[in-house]
């Protein structure tokens, strides 16, 4: 599994995890960035190939180029559950 949220691994228990510091919606990289997409896929496959212990987590050394504050990953319209929670306030 290639995931942005390795903190969930202790409760999820995926067989092997490649953790990636990319924003939600774009786990392999930015639009048009074929080099990063290929490198991330290659790294994830390497974890598949080399992990020997159930639940292994490997933190991949990729950095997202933009500040999180300026990285849009959510939809313009709040998701139904977020809208519901906001309405309850």
């Amino acid at each position: 599994m290639l995931t942005m949220m390795p903190a969930y691994q202790p409760s999820v228990g995926a067989p092997r995890v490649a953790a990636i510091a990319h924003p939600f919606g774009r786990p392999y990289g930015a639009v048009g960035d074929a080099d990063t997409q290929r490198a991330v896929l290659r790294a994830a496959l390497r974890v598949l190939e080399t992990a020997r212990t159930p639940g292994d987590v490997v933190h991949l050394p990729f950095q997202w180029p933009d500040d999180p504050k300026h990285t849009k990953w959510g939809p313009d319209e709040p998701s139904p559950i977020v809208a519901m929670m906001m309405g309850k306030r």
């Binding site: 997409q37 639940g55 991949l60 809208a83």
Partner: protein
């Protein structure tokens, strides 16, 4: 020597949501066992499939049911879709109410890197691209049906196509 890099799961989240999800993660008990099948096929001979939780569908296959989720915000469509290896952003739909889907509609490879997988095969690093790839929709407050129905069906479809290994990428 630099410190080992560790991914911060909460980095892109607003503080309140991060706090909520962190508490949820910490409150969830660990599974009794972690499933693990050793990967024994050399990657250069392996047939690889990709899975995404982005809610990707290929018309005329039906989209994931977003109206159902709008009507019941505590429900997410638990079904699954098959995506042919030839798929591209030109012929998919992305049905997910929790992410900005326009990135995937501009470049499918950000979430389901089929062209990149083809390139690794062409370079001799991977054996072959599976004929089929898969998507579910990742917002599942209750994952019972995904676990009981969709996951086994996807696994069976992979076995039928002699898939050696797969990469699941939640979005």
């Amino acid at each position: 020597m630099s410190e080992p890099f560790e991914v911060d799961s909460w980095r892109f989240l607003p503080p309140r949501l991060a706090q909520l999800l962190k508490a949820r993660a910490e409150a969830t008990p660990p599974p009794d066992t972690i499933p693990f099948t050793p990967f024994t096929v050399p990657l250069a001979q392996a047939r690889i499939a990709l899975l995404s939780t982005a809610g990707i569908s290929c018309p005329p296959d039906p989209p994931f049911d977003m109206d159902g989720e709008r009507a019941n915000p505590m429900w997410g469509d638990p079904s699954w879709r098959r995506i042919p290896a030839s798929a591209s952003e030109a012929n998919v739909a992305v049905n997910h109410l929790h992410i900005e889907t326009s990135y995937i509609m501009r470049d499918l490879n950000v979430a389901l890197p089929l062209r990149r997988l083809e390139e690794l095969v062409a370079a001799g690093e991977v054996g072959s691209v599976a004929p089929s790839h898969y998507s579910v929709m990742g917002f599942q407050p209750d994952a019972t049906v995904q676990v009981s129905d969709s996951a086994p069906a996807i696994a069976a479809a992979m076995r039928a196509e002699a898939v050696s290994g797969a990469v699941l990428a939640p979005v």
